[in-house]
Each structure stands twice: as structure tokens, then as C-alpha cells.
Symmetry: D2
Subunit: 485 residues, 4 copies
Amino acid sequence: MPAWNELLKPPLEALRYLSPFTIKYGSDEMHAVWSEKSRALAVRDLWIATAYVQMEAGLVTQEQYDDLVVNREKLDIREAYRMELDRDYSRFTGHDIVAASREYGDKAKIGGSIIGKGETSEEPLSNSEILLTHKGIDILDRRIVSVLTSLVSPIRKYKDLICMEWTHLQAAEPTTVGLRLAGYAQDLLNDLSILRFFKTLILGKGIKGAVGTSASFTHMLEGNPMTAREMEDKIMARYGLTPALITTQTYPRKFALMAVTANAFMGQSAYKFANDLKILQSTPFGEWAEPRRRDQVGSFAMPHKENPNNAEGIKALARGLAFHVAHMWFIAADTTLGRGLEDSAGKRSVIPESFLAADEILVRMDRMVKGLQIREVPIARNLAAYGPFVAMEIILSELSRNPNVDRPAMHDSLREKARTANEAVRRGEPNPLQDLVRTDSELTKYLSTEEIDSAFTSVNKYIGDAPERCHEMADIIEKELVKTT
Amino acid sequence: MPAWNELLKPPLEALRYLSPFTIKYGSDEMHAVWSEKSRALAVRDLWIATAYVQMEAGLVTQEQYDDLVVNREKLDIREAYRMELDRDYSRFTGHDIVAASREYGDKAKIGGSIIGKGETSEEPLSNSEILLTHKGIDILDRRIVSVLTSLVSPIRKYKDLICMEWTHLQAAEPTTVGLRLAGYAQDLLNDLSILRFFKTLILGKGIKGAVGTSASFTHMLEGNPMTAREMEDKIMARYGLTPALITTQTYPRKFALMAVTANAFMGQSAYKFANDLKILQSTPFGEWAEPRRRDQVGSFAMPHKENPNNAEGIKALARGLAFHVAHMWFIAADTTLGRGLEDSAGKRSVIPESFLAADEILVRMDRMVKGLQIREVPIARNLAAYGPFVAMEIILSELSRNPNVDRPAMHDSLREKARTANEAVRRGEPNPLQDLVRTDSELTKYLSTEEIDSAFTSVNKYIGDAPERCHEMADIIEKELVKTT
Amino acid sequence: MPAWNELLKPPLEALRYLSPFTIKYGSDEMHAVWSEKSRALAVRDLWIATAYVQMEAGLVTQEQYDDLVVNREKLDIREAYRMELDRDYSRFTGHDIVAASREYGDKAKIGGSIIGKGETSEEPLSNSEILLTHKGIDILDRRIVSVLTSLVSPIRKYKDLICMEWTHLQAAEPTTVGLRLAGYAQDLLNDLSILRFFKTLILGKGIKGAVGTSASFTHMLEGNPMTAREMEDKIMARYGLTPALITTQTYPRKFALMAVTANAFMGQSAYKFANDLKILQSTPFGEWAEPRRRDQVGSFAMPHKENPNNAEGIKALARGLAFHVAHMWFIAADTTLGRGLEDSAGKRSVIPESFLAADEILVRMDRMVKGLQIREVPIARNLAAYGPFVAMEIILSELSRNPNVDRPAMHDSLREKARTANEAVRRGEPNPLQDLVRTDSELTKYLSTEEIDSAFTSVNKYIGDAPERCHEMADIIEKELVKTT
Amino acid sequence: MPAWNELLKPPLEALRYLSPFTIKYGSDEMHAVWSEKSRALAVRDLWIATAYVQMEAGLVTQEQYDDLVVNREKLDIREAYRMELDRDYSRFTGHDIVAASREYGDKAKIGGSIIGKGETSEEPLSNSEILLTHKGIDILDRRIVSVLTSLVSPIRKYKDLICMEWTHLQAAEPTTVGLRLAGYAQDLLNDLSILRFFKTLILGKGIKGAVGTSASFTHMLEGNPMTAREMEDKIMARYGLTPALITTQTYPRKFALMAVTANAFMGQSAYKFANDLKILQSTPFGEWAEPRRRDQVGSFAMPHKENPNNAEGIKALARGLAFHVAHMWFIAADTTLGRGLEDSAGKRSVIPESFLAADEILVRMDRMVKGLQIREVPIARNLAAYGPFVAMEIILSELSRNPNVDRPAMHDSLREKARTANEAVRRGEPNPLQDLVRTDSELTKYLSTEEIDSAFTSVNKYIGDAPERCHEMADIIEKELVKTT
């Protein structure tokens, strides 16, 4: 739970629009990654790593370095914002990193003069953004693993719980609850491997200066035994990132595209899961339901009404993830030459909100899977209502082997019975098809009542190798989890 | 029906990808607008209009003009393509309009030399594209009007056919079939007015030369009593378009954005209609269904299975319309200065396919509305199953007026009954709530059995002013249609 | 300027992501529309309007109504949020409108019990959202009018300031600065008429209850001379909205789609304007520049470097507007039956951020137009460099009239000269073409030096009727403005 | 070159819209993958593989299998389409796979009865679509490798060709032509690894029947030593695909999303490359140019005008790739339960057109890289014009080390000189800054003329470690290529 009671103080809520991504969505943990404080400290950490390596190169003193370290947490974001944005302020700079640097210098009087020595504003900005992206990915990785873990048990438990499968929202053939869950698990396994793969490609800008040549650092280090490239490698190692070989002023925005794309892949799986669940939870289907909070009295006059709030919320959040991909594509594609500023306004909200939405989705999905209600009564009711029609296929295939059958006549007769049965089902009555068929004197010339009954009974175990596939999927997840932990 | 049997001749299908928008979607009428022949003739017509006006200005002879008119239909698209695309051809030009002009000149030997006198290739290209856009809009306008006309009768007929309304796919309160249909009609009325409004804003490029100054025409007409502006006005009037006051080399791509936006608005309405229908047609809901073709035997072993093919198809096609808007937005936005060629590849498919998809959607929607199956038996079944819960609200509001009622106890008792009733409904049994309530000795101290029964009965006419609203909507449509015809 | 210094108080910035749309973009005026306070008051105003009309119907007392009015401004958003979101709070509701209603009731002890009498939560939610949308549209309307007003003077002033027009970013033919500005004006006039047209279609939900039938109000008003429809009309009139004839539980999301679409149309115009400006401001083009702040020292070592911050920012913000349209399309399209909650998460940020971005864009654009730097020296330099090539066309057309000219030979000779001239221009030298041509002994057989010089000179007035079109556009804007005010 | 002259036969072009993806874009090789014939044969191949394995299982005779093999190429697509689409045809089926099966049966009289024995239509449809996707990926893989190969030589050649880098389209600091090219190479390397990674995740549906349980195959193989799972594995192995463990009726649409996403990643790189090139090719920049065809005379009167047709075309095609991702996301996300038909209309064009566009982009890009014109004269001209401003930074940093300098006064003096120099540059004159600075009597008190000249000279080698990075990138590509071949 966010410390929501601290979030809204007058006059903030009276003066400004507040994003739902500030107030409502995302775990505290994910917010901690994308908070203003976290961004500011990640910038400072790049400067601290820089100072450390430059100390090694003899460009910075121990005292200066220590001063930066000691004052790392002394952060006055309000002052930094003021220096960036308030044109009436005497210390106005109009520039976020210049302001941040001066604000840091206010605290670190000794180290202040060597903050980001020789670096452009994109050394801290680009690298810190990638660092936070990695942190965000790590959280989402754990969340996907958690949902997968939560899926193992119901996949095994319901591996052979037969239920209708619906194609085009029409009752089709039976499947099992476990197999359906295994499908969601397979989706998430794909997403997880994509997320992990992309993480390996998302590299830091490194320390390459205004246009990526390191010319200013080469110049600065003339005569120094440390080369610009060595300085870059050391700073990045200390910061926890691998630098890309080639960048311009910024990291290639393709890296940000990778992150939001990975999130959207997961979002696609979650959307399908949530959409399926919403349909299965609808009053007339009634087979599955998302968990209800213990304190959730529900509409007591309307106990049948259980709004799929979480499923609908997931769908809504996931859609946003899809558009973030297209949006970020244009941000990355329309980066002209060394760089433009067209990336800024979009990136500021798209990247964090992609992670916050993905985070919210996965937290909810985990809760939903853990508390998923599988309602065996309506499942059986639907199977009883529509399963008999599946038996017709089996009977027809039996009949087709007998050359003596007057097929057209038999077909007409069976079709008539199926129609009659369907009318009854539509009125809400039990499906009378089996009775209609087994009492047909014409049909029983070719098939015994036992054979007919057997066809109808066989529908209830018409699940092929679904249970085996469920176990295999559960095994794969467990192997994957072992790898992870 | 397309002359599909003429479409595929070897080796076309063996060599090239064929778009579903060539083979499957769109009426013959809409294809006739966007066919290669139609495009070519619209280009020639601009040249003919130009020649006519230039004849008036003394720049073209009657003989030249007549020659163009006489040869208008003599069209060899293959030759024009060859001159445009075949680099090994001696007459290769690499330019569509140059090729089209020469191919016309092959036929019109006398008028050939004055084709598009003084004009750039964008005079015929830009203006013809707008002309075809207007033609496409006119077809869609008629189609929307047709769907609206088709809706009038069922809106009136079902104005008071009570049925459950579903929110979050949960049974909520009753509505009427007519009111739901009236909602779709209102959506389409909005779309129609948007389409018509945009049409008034979509103007021709006019005759303004390479960068929109008409400089070349001013130069050409030096000493002529006809001014460049007069020539533009006369050509456009003859061509059937109003010219925009300001253009660069091309018409502002914002006009194309308007067209695809109008189509997407309609698509949004159709998507909602189709999505609702698919759900209502799903086996467990079962209330509505799209029409079946007379010759459609259906899965006879599975008479309950009626795939909502048209609804699903509409959803699929409508989605494309939404992305066309975003795509065209970037085409229009990223037009640098006088123009770029970034508009070309996208525009070539986006504009026609937006119209073809919209056309296909409306043709299907009209068929669906005309043959819409409203199944009163399942509608009544669902109302019987879930309507009693609505009655609970009425009873509770009655009880709340009586100060003697021990409300917590009464609430507990009623909640218990509702839960029992809900369990029964989930098993597929009739809703026993009314019986449970009317036989409760505690409750009948405050409400008579008649009052209780009356609450349950009143649910069946709990439709407020839905019928009046239906009539009003039907009246509005009819008034609109009178305006149209 | 936002009261930024009040925005960030610990621990908000330490704990939560803050959207750039909270901190950076949008005028105070637009934020005031979409602030939490504004939303809360718009909800309360719907309840006040309801109480007023219900007082007229005898359902509410004057004292109750007055109490609501008197306590309107006593708003404790923090408490309302707590009741909505804090599951550990004894007054937790989990519902925004229930919480808002109770929080209002805390203040208005007398009127508290009749807040939103008979209404669902969507009466205040849906209607207030439309009301704020109208307010947002009104602000944007004024801003577009302001930009248009700002454009009138430079359109007239630069109507005949000749400059190169660039197609494919290649120097093409001359245009005028005024004509280019008139094109942007025409775009915005289109956008303004779209915005105004859509506003007429964006109607309130009205007062129609849970599924749009007004059944609960019909029930509530049984025996009352006021009908449900009259109550709706009166409340809406008092609230300042026209109700839609048909709605479900909410207003049709198509209305929200209209609003974000209108904003995206404007954004498309702004994107093109900004993109053109960025190119024209690029160091090598150098013809236009956005205004510099008086206090903007600029990179003093690099006086040539003037980053087009505002143009790039506009492009970035405008892109978001395009994706909002596609996003909202799906929100509107995927509204199933009576409603779903899939609209919520997206709508909460998409609608306000569409308005805030549009607002920021227009504020910047107005500033840019007002302070636009038109640099006549580089404009003349580019015309001098590339204009002579335009003269070649004129010379060639003159030569083509003379049957004695050996055209192939002449063409070869001229092409050679043009190549030579182009090489010189590429080296940064003045274009020598005129000299090369006028001293060609072969050519001067057919054209006098005066005629040749005249061709080169004529380029400098090769602007056709651009000035007239500029005046016409300026007149149209002024007429439009008169209409507006 | 497509056999364009066979493409358009009357009345096709007279009757139907033809997609530019049929006529204009994509190599013959890629068209061969997505042609109707290719699709039909891939379907037949699945049936042949099925027959082979079922022959092994004793369900099909050698004669039947052979008959299918022998008649594989006898394909009458027109007849199949007629059976699918022509409602007036006696053999009308309304179903693509049923029609294809019967049309195959017309040719293979012996094997006709066992075509796709026991399979649903999605066994051939789903698996063939994945097979073609793999083929498409393989072509694109080769094309990316080809572009990378083409990049190696210019990256090495121009590793130290110094040129201005532009940020915000403003002259910034120098970079090298090779480094810029190396950046494009790095982008494509990322894209290649994404494409290859995704290919490993894109699996076949396998042979799992109507809802993914293999129930019908289990039933069919009762008593047979071959299990349904073995049959699936064998058929898939023969077909050349690995089956996914879990599917419903179709392969998970997430796989299609992977394919179009990989293509869009490449498209993003190509867009940036093309956009950069267009700007660099613009008349005033003039540094790079795409190759001109040998036979391309060009506008001879306008030799400076070289439209970047291919760059603009790439941008246009690449944009489409981005929207395909969002479109396919919704197709994948909105697949309800077992399946719906909402995937169909979109998938039919999105998948092939994604591959055709990617193919066209890469073919063009390869041609552009191979023939890229690097114009050293304008490169040097721009460096001479704006490089001196870079020297100012070096001078200032030198001065800042001298405590005796009156910095404010010196700064004012230098700023004045820079402004004067900038005015000269804007007029098109050589940059006079070096002269202005070296003759300043105040400045030369602190820096010798040699030191000043040296600062200006050093700009011309201010490229840091760009050459090393170029070599490293070229080495990586070559290593990658070795791996590939």
C-alpha cells in the first residue's frame, strides 16, 4: 500500500492534475524505482562512480570523492526543481542536470567542483535511465516467476477437470481446466524468456561525451596512463552496467523500445487471461471467478453479481502497454542524427508507466491465480448441457462405418433430434438428446443402447492427452524456477 | 459478388502476394472506385477538365480537347505500368504520371501534346485522390443510412421487449431490446454527421503547381485575360471539387486523415455492436444471433454451435480502421515543408483499405440488422433466472421505510436466501428466491405476500421510459432519412 | 507557472512516480480543470443540481439543498481517498463515488442523506467528466484562436518575402514566407472547426440510472407530477449540459473519442509546423528560428547552436495525442453491453493528458509564432544559391519555342554548366550559373544577354499569386475571430 | 523484378483494388513465400506429411500417400476459390480448407479420401502459416546479414573521416562518417539477434485437434501402437517444425506478434538510417546521398535536386511495420478462449505485408549502403563553417586554467567575436573566427598565436576513439558473419 495519506496535500490536488500512475497503479517497490528520489540518486551514483575512477586516474582527490559519498543522501529535490523550472529564481538554470549538479554541490562543498568532471548531462541521464530499467526488469522478472509458480499447483490439480472449451464463444469440444491454465503459463514462459533476452541487449550509454567519440575525455586524459576507454569501462563496471560499443549523445532509444516491448508481450498474455476470465466469470458462463476479498460483502441483494474488477483492470492497463510500444517505436525511429529532444516528453511517462502498469498487472494476476475460483457445479452444468452434442459426432462416425445405414435418412432423423434438444437447452431445460437418441427405433437397429450410452459417456473423458501436457508444463515451470533461484 | 473467377489467373497467384482487400473484402461498387482503372480515369478526367478550360483560354484547340475526350476510355494500364516500372523497357520512365500521360498520348495522338499543359504530376494525382475519396464517402454515407433505416423497425418493434442488461458481463437491471438497438443507432447517427462534416472540409488541391504559388501558371497566362486563379476555379468546378485556398505541392494530408478518421468512428460503433452481438450470441447467453444464410446447413451434429462469423469479421476489420488513423496521422504530421515521399507507401494502401473495410463492415452490418434473430425464449429464461435479484432491491427499499424493522437481522435473513437462490441458479435450476422470500414468517410481518409478489412482478416491467426513447430515436432517424433523400 | 514549489513535498517524491503531466506540461488553467479538486467539485455540482430539481419535485427540503450549497467548498480529498483506497481504514469503501458522497456528508450533515438521491455513481461521474471535457475544449478553442490571431500579422507582413520552398528537403521552386504561414493557419482553421463541431456532439449522460432506462427514477417519481424525463432535463439544464437521448450506465465513450480526436487533429498541425521549423532552424538551412528567451544566454562559445527546444517538445507531445486516439478507440469499441471497467485505467490518464498536452502545445506554438525569427539574410543566401537552377527551366522553355535551336546540343551544354555550378555551390561558393550561361557564345545566338538575365531575375519574383492567397487567408481568420468574439 | 507484365490483365485492374504490396513492394523471393500458390502448397505439404506418418501407423495406404505426392503440384487455385466464395456454384463450401481439400481431391482421386485424416482445418492452416513465417524470417535474416556485410567496408574506410555531428539538427561536435555507420550496424546487429531469438520461440501448432487436447486423435488411434503425441511429433518433424507444447485450436497468436515485432525492430533501425540520410542529403547539408541509378538522368535543369526516394520510401514502409505490431498485439490479446475469428481479417494482410515491407526495406537499404555517396567536399565545407565554434570551447578551457585572466571581460570579448563570425557564416561567408581571435591583443596576452591556432587545428582531429570503435564494430560483424555462414 502506498503511503497514500501522505500523497495528497493541499494545494497539490487543488492545482494540478495527478496521474493515476501516481495515485493508483504500481507496487511500492516499483514506485521506489521510478520515484523522483530514485532518479536523482541514480544520477548521483553515476557521478560517484565517475569520481571514484577519476580519483584512480589522479584527477580527483580522496577528499572530494568522500565528500560526494557522504552527502549522497542529502537531497533537496524541491530546490533542484526550482533551479530547473522557476524562471524568477536567481539560481534558475533551465536545465535538469545542471540544476541537479548544483544542488548536489550545495551539499557537497568539497566534491562539488568535480561532479561529473568532463561529462555531458547525458552521462548521468542516459546511464541512470538504463540502470532503473534494469531494476524495473528485475522486479517484473520476479513477478512473472511468482505467477508461474502460482500456476503450477492448479495446473496439476485441474489437469483432468473436464470442461467445455468455447470457440467463437460457442460450446465446442471439452478441454480441461488445467490445460487452459497451462496455456497461460506457456504464454508467460515466452514472455519471461523475452524479458531476460532483452535485458542482455539493454546496455548503458557509457562515458562517450557529446557525440559518442569520447573526444573530450581523450583530450582530458592526454598524458594520463588511463585511456578514455578504460575510464568508461571502469566507471560502468562500478555502476553495474555494460556500455554499448557505439552510441551518440544518448543511449540508442532502441533499448527503451526493447523494455516496453517486453512489457507489452507480458501484457498481451495477461490481457488474454483476463479477458477469458471475465467471460468465464460472466453470469451465464459462471465457471471461473476471480477471488473476492475476505472483507468484500458484495452486493448482497445481488449475490450473483461479481464484477470482474481485476480482470477488467488488467485489460485496461495492458492496452496501454501496446500503445507504449508504437509510441516508443516512433521515439526511437525519429531520433535524428546525434539526437533530438523529441524523445523527451514521451519517454518521461512511457518508460515508467510501462513498468508500473506491467507491475500492477502482474501483482493482480498473481493474486487472481492464487485465489482463482474454479466452480465445478456450473462447469458440470455447462458440460451436461452441451456435451451431448459432441456425442453426436462420435455416433455419426460409428454409423459411417456401417454400410447398411441409410445415411441421409439417419442424418435427417438425428438432426431433428439435435434441434429438439437444442430448443430444450435454450429454454433452460436439461439436454434430452441422449434419451431422444437411445429411444429411436430406427437407430437402435445399428447401434445398441449400450453403444449409444457409451458415446454419450465418453464425452466426459474426451480430453485426450491434456493431463500429460499439464504435467509437462508444470515440470518445465519448476525446472525454470530452479534455474532462477 | 466480385468477378472472382476473373481475378486469379496464373501466374499471378503463383508469383505474388494477393491482399485480402483485393480478393475478399469490399463491395464491387467500392472496388470500382479504387480500382486501377478508376484511378487512371480520374487522372484523365482532370486532364480533360484542364484541356477544356485551357481551350477557353485559347491555349488548346477544340480538336485537341475532342481527341482527349474521344480516347478517354482507351486505357492500357499494363503499358502504363510497364513504362513506370520496367527498367529494361525502352520507354521506361520511372514515374507514374509521366507514364500515364505518355500512354494516354499513344491513344490521343492529337491531344497528346497538351495533356496537363503546365501542370505538375500532383495536379492530377492530388485532385483525383480527393475525387475518389468523395466517391467513397458517398457510398459509405448511403450504407450508414441503410443500416439506420434497417434499425428503425426493430427499434420500434422491440421497444418494450424486456431483457437483462449486463454490466461487466454480469446480469444487472432490465433494459429493452429496442433501447439497446437505439444505442447503436445513435452511434451511427453521430458517425454519419461526422462523415458528412468532414466531407465539407476535404477539398481539392486545385491547380497550383510545384509549390502552391501558381507561379508557372501565372507565367503561362501572362497576357491572357484568364488569370491563374480563374483557371483553377474553372477546372475544379468542371472536375467537381472545391479547391483549398492554400496547398503546397499536394493537398494537405490532413484531408486524408479526416476521411480515415470518419471511417474509424463508424468502425468503433460497428465493433461495439458486433462485440455485443457475439457475446449475446454465445451459447450460454443465447439471446441474439446474427442471421444464418438460407443455404447454411450448419454443423448439424452441433445445432447449438452458430459461429458469429460476421460479428467477428466486423471486429477484425474495424480494428484495422483504428490503426489507419494513427498511421495516417503520422503520414500527415511528418510531411516536411513542400512535401516528402514518406506519404506514398502508406497512403496507397491505407486510404483504399480504409474505405473497403468500412464498406465491408457496413454491408455486413446491414445484413445482420435486417436478419437479426431476437430469441425471446432465452431472453425470458435469463430474465427469470436473474430478475428476482433485482426484486430484492425493491423489497429492501420498501422495508427501509418501516422504522420497526430490525434491519440487520432482516438483511442477514435476506442475504442468506439470496445466496441459496444463487446456488440453485448456478446449478441450472429455476430461481427459487420469490418462494423463499414470500414464505419467510419474519418478513411477512412487514410486507404482505401481495406486496412481495408485486415486487417480483414489477421487475418484468422495470423499463422506465425506454419505449419512449426508442420512439424518439426512430423518429430522429426517419427525419434524418427524409433530409437525405 | 505552476506553484511548483508546493508540488513536491517529502515523502511524495521519495515514494512515488510523478508524471511529467503533473510537473511539467500544461497551463495552470488547464490543470485547474483536471485537478482532483476540480473533479470533486464537478461531482458535487451534479449533486447540487440534482438536489435543486428534487427540491422542486418535493423530494428534498430547502434546508437540505442549502446545506449542500453552503458546504460545497469544504472538501477533504485526502479523507475521500482514504475511504476509497485504505483497506485498513474503518471507513473504507473501495468505491470512489461512495467515498466522495460520505465525505461530503461529513461536511453537510443536513443535506448528506439526500446526496444523489436515487442516482447511481455514474450520474455524477459521467456528467462531470463531460462537463470538464467541455471546459477543456473551451480553453483549447481560445488557444487556437490566439495562435490564429498571432499568425495574421506575419502572414500579411511576409506575403511576398520570397524564399526557397523545399520538397524532399531539396531546394525546389520559390514560395513566400507568408504562404507557408498561411498553410499552418489553414490547418488550424480546420482543427478549430473540428473541435467546435465535436463539442456539439459531446453530450452528457443525463440522469438515466444503472442501465439507461430511468427505471429507478420512474419508480421514485411515481405519483409525482414531475416525470423522470423532466427531472433529467431540468438537472442537466442547471448543470450546463444537454443529455444524450440514449445511454447505458455511462455516456458513450465515443464522446471521449471525439475529444481526443479533435486534440490529435490540432496536434498534427502543430507537429508539421514544429517539424518544418526545426528543419528551417537547422544550422545549414538557418532561415527561421523559434524565439529565444530574453534571459537565455545560449551557448556563448557556440552562438550558432540554437536548439529548437520548443519545436522538438511540440513534436514529442503531439505524438502522444495520436496514440491517445487509437487507445481511446479501443476503450470505446471494447465497451461490452451495459458497460465494463476496461475504460477506467486508460481514460483516467488519456483524457486529461490529451488536454494537457494539447494545451502545452498551443501555448508554446503561440509563443513561437509571436516571436518567430524570420532571418532574411540566410533566406536570401539560399535563394541566391539555388534560385539560378530554377531559371534554367525558364530558359529552356524559351529555347523550346525556337525551332532553329539544336536542342540536344544545347541541352548538353546547359547541363554541363549546371553541373559546374552545382559543384561550386557544394563547395560553398556563389552560384556561377548566370555568368556561365550569359557568356555562352552558342546560346547567345538565340537569346540576348538581356533575355538571359531577365530569366535569372524573374526567379526573384516567381511567386505567382501567393500574396493574394495570404491576404485571403488573413481575411478569413479575421472574419472567424469576429465571429468568435 | 516482378513479372509485372503478367500481373495486370483485364478485367482485374478494372474491377478491383490492387494493393501496392501486390504490385510494388517486396522481392520476388518474398512474394514467392506469401503467394497464393505457396500458401496452398504449404497446406498440401502438411497433408502429405500427415499421410506419410499415418501410413506408418497403418491408417493410410502407400498408394494413397503416393497419389497425394504425385499430384502435389496440380493446383487449381481458381477452382478452390470458387468453391470457397461463389455461393451460386454447386460446389460452394464457404470454407477455405474444405474447398482446398476437395480441390486437391479432384486431382488426387486415390488419396483424396484420406486428406488430413482426423484433422481440423487448423492443422494445415496454423502449421503452414508458421512454416511460411519461418521462411520469411530466413530471407530477412540473409538480407540483414547482407546489409551488415555491406557496412563493413565503409565503416573501416571512413573510420576517421571527420565530419560535423548534428544534435537537434544543430552543428555540435565532430564525429566520423565511420562511427555513424557503425551505429547503424549496431542497430541491425541487435535486430538480427532479436529476429533469430524470436524464431526459436515461434513453434508450430502441431496436431492437436479442435481444442488442443488431441482427443480426436487419441480416439482415432485407440489400439494403434502409435500414440497421438508420437503422431504429432513425427508429422511435425517431417514438416520441419517443432510443435508448441500447448495450443488451443490454433497456434498462439503471440507467435505472429513475435514475427511482426522482430520486423518492426529492424524497421526502426532502417527508419533512423533513412531519416538521417534524407537530412544529410538535403540540399543545404549535402554531405551524403543515396546512389543514383546509372540511367537516372535526373532533373538536368536542377542538378542540385536529388530526391531521396529510397530513404523516404523506407521511412514510409517502416512506419507500417510499427502499426502492424500494435495491430497484431490486439489480434493476439483479443483471442477469446479456444479461439475467435477476430484474428482472421487482420492477420491475412498484416503478416505477409510485414514481411514484404521488411524485405523491400532491406533490399533498398542494402542498395543504398553499397552505393552510398559520401561527399567529402560539403563535409569539409560544413566542418570549416562550424568547426571553429568548437575550438572556442578548447580555448575557454585553456583560459580557465590561468588565474590572471579577467574572465568576464574575456568572455564578453569572445562572445562578441563568435557572434560576428556567426553572422558571416549565415551570409554564406567563410568563418572568420580564427582570424578574429588570433588578432585580439587582449587574448594574446594569455595564449600565443600558436596555441590559438592549435586549438582551431585540433578540431580537425577531435574524434577521440571513434576509429577504434569502428574497427571493433567491423570485427564483430565479420565474426557474426562467420558464425552465420
